[in-house]
Amino acid sequence: MRLEVKKTYKLFIGGKFPRSESGRVYKVNDHKGEFLANVAKASRKDSRDAVVAARAAQSGWAGATAYNRGQILYRIAEMLEGRREQFVEEIRALTGKTDKQANLEVDQAIDSFVWHAGWTDKIESVAGNMNPVAGPFLTSQPTSQPALLQPLRRKRRL
């Protein structure tokens, strides 16, 4: 019999997977109350590090082109689709959902990423008043000289 290799769950801060600086973990049990994993218990300092990392990355992310942000969100959807089995299993173990329910949850997560991937370069044209690549130079212009044609004889309406 092959012995299963268990996963160590850690934090995700600034693109790295550190353990908590506090050295603490807490137990996560499955839906039957049995031990599933030890998860890093983040400290105040870990939270602070995470916020610092997020703040440092914000200007770069906001400065990336809308197209690029869309590509990255779509890439997440692609990766999630490829690893769906793992997520289905984890949801089932944790919550006790059926296979169908767990699959539906993963479907919805993937589709949500796809939905938002499409929004990055459309927010301006729906909620704003300019498009994201042209400058705010142009306003709507009339068609200049419309030729208006009326039938010669119109029924008189009083």
Binding site: G70, V114, D121, K122, V126, P132, A134, F137, L138
Partner: protein
């Protein structure tokens, strides 16, 4: 001038079949009534292409109608979007192959197909994929409806890019399509048909019928077509408008242009020179929005033209497959003849012709980058679209004169402004009758930006939310 060692891209990246049928209902038909498509840079034969008949057109429209009624209109937007995302991804994966195919069949430099055409094609599908499940936000109220079957006819200057501009929004909005590529450049459209198969797009959603103008006319004329989209010459656009007058068919026409590229004396001249070169020599000048009329302020004419000529002497014309090539081959013999005729006419009417001394390859169709100076506003080369690497130079003294001269054209597709003065850019952009105005840049495209013309440059917009509306009911 620097010497460059040859740096040819490999032709092995793409393999064409000997002959192609039409792509109808998800399958290729047996090739029939074939004609040859060639590489305009070498005049070498590439493949045999079927010339579409009334029967082929009818079969394609029927397949599109069937797919519309039975599958495509029944799918939810998110699923349609996912098919488009798949297509976008496959185009990204096969980008180099498509770039090589486009260069072989069109004659444009590999540098341009690789860095401009194909990335834009992918981004167009990616952008409109995102719209498919967001039609409620298009500004037409909830659940806007598609037209049904769209007939789409694209030109030879950007074969695959024009296909993407047409097919991506049409499919996102829920239409099915029959597309006819230009007779001289059908190969990337046929490769795209294979991509539809790889993406498992339901049969009949995209149909491709190859052939000449008569095939296109039959497609536009077909009774079961709801929407016509055409990019090409103003003459053919007029014929199409006449053809569909009195029917319920909606049309988007993206036609010719004779854009003014206006350079003020305060502009960064070296930067402007680059912009002028990009504006007119990009894609051999086969660009409907090319900056083909240079309007330069009189005070800087001499220094600008000196810089421009020096820059033009460094342009490399030759093998489009070479990664260093700036200007490739003219797409066809007919186009070359047209350019030569118009330039001769311009010289006869008082223009002065200048071109750098650049060696021409023996085979294929070539035209050196050319300046025509001393052009009066009435000169043929100031009025007619040449669609080649030919720049007509005129001067002006005041901003008002620049606007008057720029607007003195039956066309109104695009314009360029070169000045360091922001307020002048804003004012001129408002006064120019052009659908697109570039400031201190030229020939920039993005799927999120609507593109289209004023006056005889056509009607309707492609790209952005506006481009989506062209394929939905309830919008003009």
């Amino acid at each position: 001038m620097f010497e460059y060692a040859p740096a040819p891209e490999s032709k092995d990246l793409v393999k064409f079949q000997d002959s192609y049928g039409h792509f109808i209902g998800g399958k290729f038909t047996k090739p029939s009534a074939t004609y040859q498509t060639i590489n305009p840079a070498t005049e070498q034969y590439l493949a045999a292409i079927s010339h579409g008949t009334a029967k082929d057109v009818d079969a394609a429209v029927k397949a599109a109608r069937n797919a519309y009624e039975k599958t495509w209109s029944k799918l939810d937007g998110a699923t349609r979007g996912k098919y488009l995302y798949r297509i976008a991804r496959i185009i990204q994966e096969r980008a180099r192959e498509l770039a090589v195919a486009e260069t072989l069949n069109n004659g444009k430099p590999i540098k341009e197909t690789r860095d401009v055409d194909i990335p834009l094609v992918a981004s167009w599908f990616f952008y409109y994929a995102g719209w498919a499940d967001k039609l409620d936000y298009a500004g037409l109220g909830p659940n806007p409806a598609a037209h049904g079957v769209a007939a789409q006819i694209v030109p030879w200057n950007f074969p695959l890019m024009m296909l993407a501009w047409k097919i991506a929004p049409a499919l996102a909005a829920g239409n099915t399509v029959v597309l006819k590529p230009a007779e001289t450049t059908p190969l990337t459209a046929l490769l795209f048909a294979e991509i539809c198969q790889q993406a498992e797009l339901p049969d009949g959603v995209v149909n491709i019928v190859t052939g000449f103008g008569d095939t296109g006319a039959m497609l536009v004329d077909h009774k079961d077509v709801n929407k016509v989209a055409f990019t090409g010459s103003t003459d053919v656009g007029r014929l199409i408008a006449k053809q569909i007058a009195g029917t319920n068919k909606k049309a988007t026409l993206e036609l010719g242009g004779k854009a003014a590229n206006i350079v003020f004396e305060d502009a960064a001249l070296d930067q402007a020179v680059e912009g002028i070169v990009t504006g007119i020599f990009f894609n051999q000048g086969h660009v409907c929005c090319a900056g083909s009329r240079l309007l330069v302020q009189e005070s800087v004419q001499d220094v600008l033209l000196k810089k421009l000529k020096r820059r033009m002497e460094t342009i490399r014309l030759g093998d489009p497959m070479d990664k260093n090539t700036d200007i490739g081959a003219i797409n066809s013999k007919a186009q070359l003849t047209k350019i030569e005729k118009l330039v001769k006419q311009g010289v006869k009417e008082g223009g002065e012709r200048w071109a750098p001394n650049c060696p021409m390859p023996k085979n294929g169709f070539w035209f050196a980058p050319t300046l025509i100076t001393g052009v009066s506003p009435a000169n043929t080369v100031a009025r007619e679209e040449i669609f080649g690497p030919v720049l007509s130079v005129m001067t002006f003294r005041t901003p008002a004169e620049a606007v008057a001269k720029a607007n003195n054209s039956p066309y109104g597709l695009s314009a360029g402004i070169w000045t360091e003065k922001g307020s002048r850019i804003l004012k001129l952009a408002d006064q120019l009758n052009a659908g697109v105005v570039w400031a201190n840049t030229y020939n920039q495209f993005d799927p999120a930006s609507p593109f289209g013309g004023f006056k005889e440059s056509g009607y309707g917009r492609e790209g952005g939310r506006h481009g989506l509306l062209s394929y939905l009911k309830g919008a003009n």
